[in-house]
């Protein structure tokens, strides 16, 4: 009976969240950060742990398109919002351009921070197709790269923006 009650409680506590277009039922405490749900519960390890206090940006995901630090976003705060992670960002127009620019510009070194960099950069590009240097600083200063790929990150964002303009002009 105790077992039954417990499973009933857990059922009642489960959170239904939408990640990359798919529904997931998550059975953890409501104050659990989204980061650990993604990595440890769902096995989506593309989103990285770096600091746990929203200082480094390695854990950046999109919530309804906005770059968000998943290490300080509790699971009970998400509700019906759409979560997008690095695993699916290539399905968005901005994400695809950013990933391509990252490849073209050879941005990556160790690569550990790059999921978060790409998530921040694609949110920037989706909201602001022609970011200035100052816009890039504002959007990307929350993402640390210890290998020091910043010069190439800046170049790649500009390249991705230029791609967007050209395509837009063609249409």
């Amino acid at each position: 009976v105790r077992c039954f009650v417990r499973s009933l409680q857990e059922f009642a506590l489960a959170f239904n969240i939408n990640i990359n277009g798919s529904p997931h039922s998550i059975d953890v405490d409501g104050d659990t950060p989204l980061l650990w749900v993604l990595r440890d519960v769902l096995g989506m390890t593309g989103t990285k742990f770096g600091c746990g206090i929203a200082q480094c940006g390695a854990c950046t995901v999109h919530i309804d398109g906005a770059a968000t630090r998943s290490c300080v976003t509790t699971i009970d705060s998400i509700g019906k919002s759409a979560v997008t992670t690095i695993e699916a960002i290539g399905h968005t127009s901005a994400g695809q351009k950013i990933q391509q620019a990252w490849l073209d510009r050879e941005v990556v070194q160790c690569g550990y921070c790059q999921s978060g960099q790409i998530m921040s950069a694609s949110a920037l590009l989706a909201a602001n197709p022609r970011p200035t240097d100052a816009d890039i600083n504002d959007a990307m200063a929350g993402n640390i790269c210890r290998c020091g790929t910043y010069p190439r990150i800046r170049d790649a964002i500009k390249q991705a923006a230029a791609t967007g303009t050209k395509q837009g002009a063609r249409r």
């Binding site: 980061l35 749900v37 990285k48 746990g52 200082q55 990933q99 999921s115 890039i136 010069p151």
Partner: protein, 732 residues
């Protein structure tokens, strides 16, 4: 550093003029077990004693499969430096195949195969050594395989091998218009005799080496599919996080875990002598459980330690003589005869590595076998410590190595593996131990603290006739590679303080090995030069100022016998526009070094605001690293190394109070962000000298360039790092 020199010496075994294939490099060829050609090689690894070894034990392999796929198995790890792209370039160049045809696999750890019994066994990637180590032998191996493939084709066609040529993975006999792919020839080639001599390509004939090759590991790193150590998920894995004694050398006294156990998802509390870990279903529960523990520590002997105590101790240590690192002429007599004397002290702090992937290690201890998933630079040692902790034989420890989310020297240590195995021994099933960022910073093994004292004497023209330098600091090598520490001298720690590029007739450098109480120290990007180049290049700038000379002209006057050093200095200065006017509060500083086998000069343009804050606006770097393998990687490594060095110069400092590290996360251990990153220009002088290391030099060179630029901008000489903005603040 010594490791480099050992490696370089071995890589150059026989010297570049002797093309006879070294039997120590390549001994055997034969049939691969899955068919095709297998070349077994002995690549020089760290800590390989000089002199011929009796037994040939291969540690690297080239397989040419019947499908034509070429696989290179090597004991080097990729940690962001581009090794996995540059190394296949060497093979592909001589083998005459496209870069895309060569796949690089990481060799598994194997103490017998990779370790050296004399030196405790080191299988390591570090010290900007990989390319330098394999530059000669890998090209020889490629040329050997090509020669054998050509021989096999010539035999089959019954023609002279000299009438055949290799191109794009095939052998071609143009006269008869016949062509056979390497895959089709691989088995026949395996039966060919190993040639005694092979001709290596002339640099002007290189097709790949020296061209900007795309990195091979990039695609998986932009879509989240790359698997780092922290991403390992063996079936049924639990997640653990830990608290270690906040004071180094302290012990766990007691733990009240009643509240932690009540946290949903927490499975187990593991107690160790000096740490406690919470094992849970996910990291969120593990962290919550850890926070709910009530832990009492016995702080031990270092409970009152502070950075001020350490600084005082180190300054006092400089009162006594040290081991002589390099000495020539008569410094004391020259000092007595000098027209001007300059006496100053310098100090640099402990630094954390703060690789973005926090320390972690996944372990499954079973009765008869221990399995480990980790990203580490010293796999042989990782295996050995697991065997030691579990009591299992070495061959019952399986290490799955992973991509490394930043090394910078931190993952040349195995303390994290040891700790994780200690925890896993008490856990039923696999457990991933993940350090919080706070634990990672507060239980790092740090770049050592150093204290320096200099005395120089100048002649009537202001040129240095005496140079005396004494410094105290930890020796990492004495712990990490004890046989390399001889007569009190750590050849890696003194690197950058000795064998300077400048003509200094009376020169005397002493090193005092002084270990900080309880605080572990380790290699850190640019290693010994991270300290020594800062002090040496700041001090030479001070001498220029004392002589009232331009810092570039002053250095140039001392470079008559160092043409490569002079060339990088001239190039950096020219590209930077040295001497052109700058706005008020902005200055240019220069640095010059020859470390890790590469010559480098940097000019930093730095702005000092009225509030004392410092901004590095532009960095121009000229480098002569000998033969250029992949210019794309060189530019990336210099950019990254410069940014790493700016972080240290402007912000980097680990301090202690009451025995505890005061910094804990990126809010109080700050690293450079994109909005602070300068424009960085990299100019490469290409030549045919042996390749120099490129992972590290950019970090050591930038720190003095910044301090010298601040002096140029403000007239204030900063002899301590990080930069103290309070000193630079304008009154009013």
């Amino acid at each position: 550093m010594i490791i480099d020199r050992l490696l370089t010496a071995m890589a150059m075994d026989g010297g570049p003029t002797n093309r006879k294939l070294s039997r120590r490099v390549l001994l055997k060829t034969g049939l691969a077990s899955a068919g095709g050609l297998l070349l077994s090689m002995r690549m020089p690894m760290l800590a390989h004693a000089a002199g011929p070894s009796a037994d040939f034990v291969p540690n690297a392999y080239i397989r040419i499969a019947p499908s034509g796929q070429i696989t290179l198995t090597m004991p080097y790890v990729e940690m962001g430096q581009g090794t996995y792209t540059s190394i296949p370039m060497l093979i592909a160049e001589e083998l005459e195949v496209e870069l895309g045809q060569v796949a690089l696999e990481h060799a598994p750890p194997d103490e017998k195969r990779y370790g050296n019994p004399l030196l405790g066994g080191v299988q390591a990637t570090g010290g900007s050594t990989a390319i330098r180590a394999v530059w000669q032998p890998l090209r020889e191996a490629g040329a050997t395989a090509r020669t054998m493939l050509v021989a096999a084709a010539a035999k089959r066609w019954n023609v002279d091998p000299a009438s055949c040529r290799a191109e794009k993975g095939a052998v071609i006999h143009a006269a008869s218009r016949r062509k056979l792919s390497y895959g089709a020839l691989a088995e026949a080639a395996a039966a060919m005799p190993v040639p005694d001599k092979v001709a290596l390509k002339r640099p002007q004939d290189f097709k790949l080496i020296g061209t900007p090759a795309k990195r091979l590991d990039t695609p998986a790193k932009v879509n989240g599919s790359a698997v780092f150590g922290i991403d390992a998920r063996p079936a049924g894995v639990k997640i653990a996080t830990l608290a270690q004694s906040p004071v180094f050398g302290g012990r766990l006294k007691s733990v009240d875990d009643s509240q932690a156990k009540a946290v949903r998802g927490v499975r187990q509390i593991v107690r160790l002598d000096d740490a406690v870990a919470v094992v849970a279903d996910h990291m969120g529960a593990a962290k919550k459980g850890l926070a709910a523990l009530i832990i009492a520590w016995d702080d031990g002997p270092h409970a009152a330690l502070s950075t001020e105590d350490i600084a005082r101790d180190y300054a006092a240590a400089l009162e006594n003589p040290g081991a002589v690192a390099e000495s020539r002429g008569d410094v004391e007599r020259a000092l007595a005869a000098a027209v001007t004397r300059v006496n100053v002290q310098y100090q640099v702090p402990f630094l954390a590595h703060a690789a973005l992937e926090p320390m972690n290690c996944t372990v499954h201890v079973r009765k008869d076998v221990c399995e480990i998933w980790v990203g580490n630079q010293v796999l042989g040692r990782a295996q050995a410590t697991a065997a030691d902790v579990t009591g299992l034989p070495l061959d019952k420890v399986i290490v799955h190595n992973h991509l490394i989310g930043g090394g910078f020297g931190r993952r040349l240590e195995i303390d994290g593996v040891t700790r994780a195995v200690q925890i896993a021994k008490q856990v039923d099933g696999p457990v991933k131990v993940v350090w919080t960022r706070e634990e990672d910073i507060q239980h790092d093994m740090y770049r050592p603290f150093f204290s320096d004292t200099f005395a120089a004497g100048l002649d009537d023209k202001g040129l240095p006739i005496a140079w005396r330098h004494r410094f105290a600091g930890s020796s990492i090598l004495a712990r990490w590679l004890p046989p390399a520490f001889n007569n009190g001298v750590d050849p890696e720690t003194i690197d950058g303080a000795v064998h300077l590029v400048y003509a200094l007739p009376n020169f005397h450098v002493e090193y005092i090995r002084k270990e900080p109480p309880g605080i572990p120290t380790a290699f850190w990007r640019s290693v010994g030069p991270s300290h020594s180049v800062f002090v040496v290049e700041s001090f030479i700038d001070e001498l220029a100022a004392a002589a009232k000379r331009d810092p570039v002209a002053y250095r140039r006057a001392l470079l008559d016998d160092a043409p490569r050093a002079r060339a990088v200095l001239d190039l950096a200065v020219e590209k930077a526009g040295w001497g052109q006017p700058l706005p008020k509060g902005t200055g240019r500083g220069v640095s010059l070094q020859h470390v890790f086998g590469s010559y480098m000069a940097q000019v930093a343009e730095v702005e000092v605001a009225n509030d004392g804050s410092v901004r590095v606006k532009r960095v121009v770097c000229a480098v002569d690293c000998g033969s250029v393998v992949n210019p794309n990687t060189i530019e990336a490594q210099v950019q990254g190394a410069v940014i790493f060095g700016i972080s240290a110069a402007l912000h980097g400092e680990i301090t202690l109070k009451n025995g505890r590290v005061e910094q804990s996360n990126f809010d109080d251990y700050q690293v450079l962000r994109i909005n602070e990153a300068p424009v960085i220009e990299v100019h490469i002088i290409g030549n045919n000298e042996a390749p120099g290391g490129m992972g590290e030099p950019g970090t050591s060179a930038i720190m003095p360039a910044i301090a010298n630029a601040i002096f140029a901008a403000t007239g204030k000489r900063l002899r301590k790092l990080p930069i103290d903005t309070a000193v630079l603040k304008q009154p009013g």
